[in-house]
Structure formats: C-alpha cells, structure tokens
Amino acid sequence: MDYLLNLVASGLVFGSLYGLVAIGFAVIYKTTGVVNFAQGEVMMFVLYFAWMVGSFVDAPLWMLLVIAIVFGSLFGAVLERLFIRPMLGKSQFPIIMTTVGLAIMLRGLVPIFWGVDSAPIEAPIKSQLWQFGPVFLLGDQVFALVVFLLVSAATWGFFRFSRVGIAMRAAAHDETAALLMGINVRRLQGLSWMIASAVSGVAGVCYALIIARAPDMWHIGFQAFPAAILGGLDAPLGAAFGAAVVGIVASLSEGYIGYGLKEISGFIIIIAILMVRPYGLFGEKELERV
C-alpha cells in the first residue's frame, strides 16, 4: 500500500511537469489551432536563458521564476511573429512542419550556445523533506506540485473571468464572429504564444530543479503530448488533468510491470485515446461540414 501511494505521489510530481508543458500546448491550440511541436524545446531554451541570466546575479529561486516568465513571454511573442503568423491560413502540413523545424533548430542551438554538460539547479528548498502520511516528498517535488496547482488555477481563472480570457474563448469558438465583435484576433494569437512560452519557462525551472538542466530536456515535450491529447487539445484544464493521469499511469506501469515503460506508456495511451475519442476527454467534438 505504501509502495502504491509513493508511486502515485511520484507519478503526480512528474504529471505536474507534463501538465505545465501540456497547458502550453492547449493554450496555443485553443486560440490558433496550431499544435506547437516545439513546446519542449521552447521550455528548454527559456530555462537555459533564465539560468544564464540568473547565474550572473546569483538569483534565488523566485527570481529565476520571474526571469523565466518575463523572458518566456518575450520569446513566445518573437517566435509567433517571426515563424507562425506568416504561415497562418495555410494548410495543416506546412504549419506542423514549421513548428517541427523550429523545434530542431532550438534543439541544436542550445548545445551550441551553452554546451552539452548537464547540471542541477541548487536551491535551499531541495534539502527539505516533507511527509504526508506514508508518502515522503522532497522540497523541490512539493514545489513543482504547488506551482502546477497554482498555474492550473490561474489558467482556469484567466479563461473563466478575465476579459482577455473570455475574448480568447470567443475567438476559439468562432473566429469571424469574434472579429466582427471587435476582438483583435491576431493580437490574441500572439498573446497565447506568450502565455504558453511563459508557462513552459516555469515548467523548465521546475524540471531543472527536480532533475537537472540538460540539452535533452526537450524530451518532456513528447511526454506532455499524451497528456494534452487525453485531456483534449483545446482544453487547458483538461490537459492539466490528463497530465496527472498520464504521470500516475507512467509511474505505476514502471513500478509494477517493467523498467522503461515510463517513457512509453504515454504513447500507448495516445493510440488508445485517439481510437476511441480523438478529441480527448474534455475537448469539443469537431463537426466537419462539406
């Protein structure tokens, strides 16, 4: 029983990392209809930049988060303006391939700029040990969980209550009608990239805190895919919930079935989900008209 609970807890910790990236996927998909295959790479790039700036001023953890959020939103805006906006209105294939091209460019640029070595990020919070009943968690794991919950709540509140969030939902629902109501849809699309990149920056900080900063961090982008698909690509909160499920399933399958299943269980979930409910658990079903 204790083993099970500990597996669930560690699954939730990883799920929260996946979830932060998956929220990024969902925010972009919801407003622009683009799946950003470069989400994991954007996370890596933003984290490396924040870490570089942070190590100049010897920044504490909270400041690292602030730098990641600020640089992340700037970086997102630049990426959207340079790469995605000129491609809007084209068919699915060129847009997917643009983000794929962006992904491998960032993947190569990080080791060129910052080297191939990996190193953990040090913070006093890492040495704390928290106990919840039979479950033991390290301070950085609790930190990731709390950040994940906060970001999920903020995302929900943003889409539910803020003017901009409601405008984004309107634009996602019917772009033309939103335009006619005076919503600047283009600006919203840029904003969604800013939000997604900032959230990925936060994800990067949590990831580097728990594991390490390394030039293969982008892998988590693929781990977050199943989460986003499971929850529904156009539902940010659904993606967060999907991430928790995928994290727990990954952790349990590795704990009980066999080593190495952690990386692969998500992809098995993807294939199963796409066969049964391609629009995810919480996504809206797309109707296709001739």
Partner: protein, 347 residues
C-alpha cells in the same frame, strides 16, 4: 525545348513520358550513375549509396504524405522494422539477401497495417501524432526485445552477397541501391497513373468529394499505408546492408524529420522531387561544413558540434523552404520552365 503539349489518345495521356527528350536525358543520367563507381573514391561512393537509399525512403514516404496527404512522423520506426527484419532474416534464417530485401519490405508493409487500421479515422495533426507515438513504441520494443534483436548491443549482419555483389561500403552496395532506386521509381511512377494513384490524389485533395465519387477511402488509405511502408522497409533493409551493424539508436526521431525535409525541399507529391530532396539533404552536412570552413579557419568550431549544426541547418532549411518556395525545387524548376516558355509574356 517543346512549347506545346497536346495528346491525341488515351494511351499517350497515361504514358510515363511522351517526350523523347525526357527519355534521352533519363538514359544519360542512368548511364552516368552506372559509370560513377569508376570515378569516385571510397567515401564519396559510400555517400552516393546513402543518397540512393535515402531516395528510396523518401519516395516511400512521398506515397503516403505527398500523394495521399497523410502526414507521417513515424518514418524512422518503419525504417527500423525493415532494417531489423532484413538483418534477422539473413543472420538467423540464412535467407539469401536478394530475397531478404523484398521480404523485409513486405514485413514492414504488414506491420504498418497494425498502425494503419486503427488510425483510419484520423487525419492531419492526429495522424502525425499517432505515427510519432507508433515509432516511439516500435523503437522501444526493439530496444527491449534483447533476445531477438540484441537490444542495446545491436545487430551485426554477416558478410553476404546479393547476386554476387558484396554488401557493405563498396561499389557492390552502390549497384544494389541503384537497382532498388530504379525499380522503385518505375513502380511508383506506374502506380501513380493507375486507378490507385488517381484515387490517392483525390483523397488528398478532398476526401469527402473522393468518397462521393465512389472511392473506397478506407481501402485506398490502407493501400497507401501498405505501399509506402513496404518501400520504406526496403530502404531500411538497404540501410542495414550498408551499415552491417544496426542499433535502435540509428533510428532516432531526427530521421523521420529529415525524411519530411527531403519531401519539402524537393517538392511534396512528386517522385522526382523526393529524389532531388534526398540528394540535397544527404549532402547538406557536407555543404554546411564547407560553408563554415569559409568563415572559420579549417572549421575548428564545427568539429565538436557536427550533429547540432546539422539539425539547426535542417530546421532552418525546412522553415525557409515552406516560407519561400512551398513547392520545393520541383516547383522552382516548373516556374523557370514556364517563364522560359512564355517569355516575353508574363507568367
């Protein structure tokens, strides 16, 4: 150069090419390719062999992605199936290599149906993600089925011959690959002007319209999956024969992206474009290195980060091609030709 194009009979409309000039140039190209091993040194010949193998793989992917419009990010998984099938057939079952290559293609084609059938309803984005997931699963199985595939220790293929031609990195392998390319080009070009080829294009252009014209979408999509993966499996088998030692790490995600880059650079949807793209992408690292050497003395910065530079250049190339010339090199060629024919009239 001919200036008009009119055909008077159905036979001529569906002929491979009605133009004697095209046939003549193809013959010249083929003769040049056959003579090539006499002129090139070892490493260059090995590179040309890689180009030919990549061309087979790109033509295979083109059937699925270019012609039928089903985006696949799982190319590397199918290449791995073909390579391992060929290697195991030769090593464990002592099948003659000349049979092992088509058999490996067939096995890959059948394996692709496992993924093709459940994903029939999907298209565009979701299919891309599913094929990506499938390739990760395939690589995972290969890595962990150590009893069969050698797992992390890889698979070594004994020195065998294909109809007397030795495999490995030599003129023999070059001729094997060249034969494969010629056969595959002929096969696909013929297929494209058959009922199936036209059905695939119709599905790509508008699947609902195709359905209402009486095209059985499920059947032709599966056929595209099967044909494409069979050709890709043959490319994988050739890779195994050229490398003679394969591990699962050879078939990384980057291989899938590179294959799509070949289509984008050459021109999506045409066999000639796929071949052009394969040539371009395989030589790209060499070109990048030469370019770097111009700016830095003897290219010392590039030596440690060769792979990183390669993926950055490939990524930039994908984005630039999509932005500036979405129809690829073939599109550029068509534009040039039209400009030339119409001059001085505007195109």
């Amino acid at each position: 150069m001919r200036t008009g194009h009119a055909v008077e009979s159905y036979d001529r409309l569906i002929a491979l090419s009605t133009n004697p000039v095209t046939w003549a140039w193809t013959a010249v190209l083929l003769a040049g390719l056959v003579m090539l091993p006499l002129m090139l040194s070892g490493p260059m010949l090995a590179m040309m062999t890689s180009v030919l193998i990549a061309a087979v793989g790109a033509i295979g992917l083109n059937v699925l992605t270019g012609t039928t419009g089903l985006i696949s990010l799982g190319q590397s998984g199918f290449l791995a199936v073909g390579a391992y099938a060929c290697g195991l057939l030769i090593r464990d079952l002592s099948v003659p290599a000349v049979l092992a290559i088509p058999l490996a293609g067939l096995i890959t084609g059948l394996a692709s149906l496992l993924i093709g059938i459940p994903t029939l309803r999907l298209k565009g984005l979701y299919l891309a993600i599913t094929t990506l997931a499938a390739s990760f699963i395939i690589i995972h199985i290969i890595k962990h089925a150590a009893a069969l595939t050698g797992g992390p220790f890889g698979l070594r293929i004994p020195q065998v011959t294909v109809l007397g031609l030795p495999i490995g990195n030599g003129p023999g392998m070059y001729y094997i690959a060249l034969t494969a390319v010629v056969l595959v080009v002929l096969f696909v070009n013929n297929l494209m002007r058959s009922r199936s080829g036209r059905a695939w294009v119709a599905i790509r252009e508008h699947d609902i319209a195709a359905r209402s014209m009486g095209i059985d979408i499920a059947r032709y999509k599966l056929l595209a999956f099967f044909v494409s993966s069979t050709i890709v499996g043959i490319a994988g088998a050739l890779m195994a024969l050229q490398l003679r030692f394969i591990t699962a790490d050879v078939f990384g995600l980057f291989l899938s992206i590179e294959a799509l880059a070949m289509l984008l650079v050459g021109g999506v949807g045409s066999v000639a474009g796929a071949v052009l793209g394969a040539v371009f992408i395989v030589f790209l690292p060499e070109m990048a290195r030469a370019l770097l050497a111009l700016f830095t003395s003897a290219g010392e910065t590039g030596s440690a980060l060769v792979f990183e530079i390669r993926i950055v250049v490939t990524g930039a190339l994908i984005i630039l091609m999509l932005r500036l010339e979405p129809d690829g090199l073939m599109g550029l060629w068509r534009k040039t030709k039209r400009y030339w024919l119409q001059w001085p009239l505007p195109v």
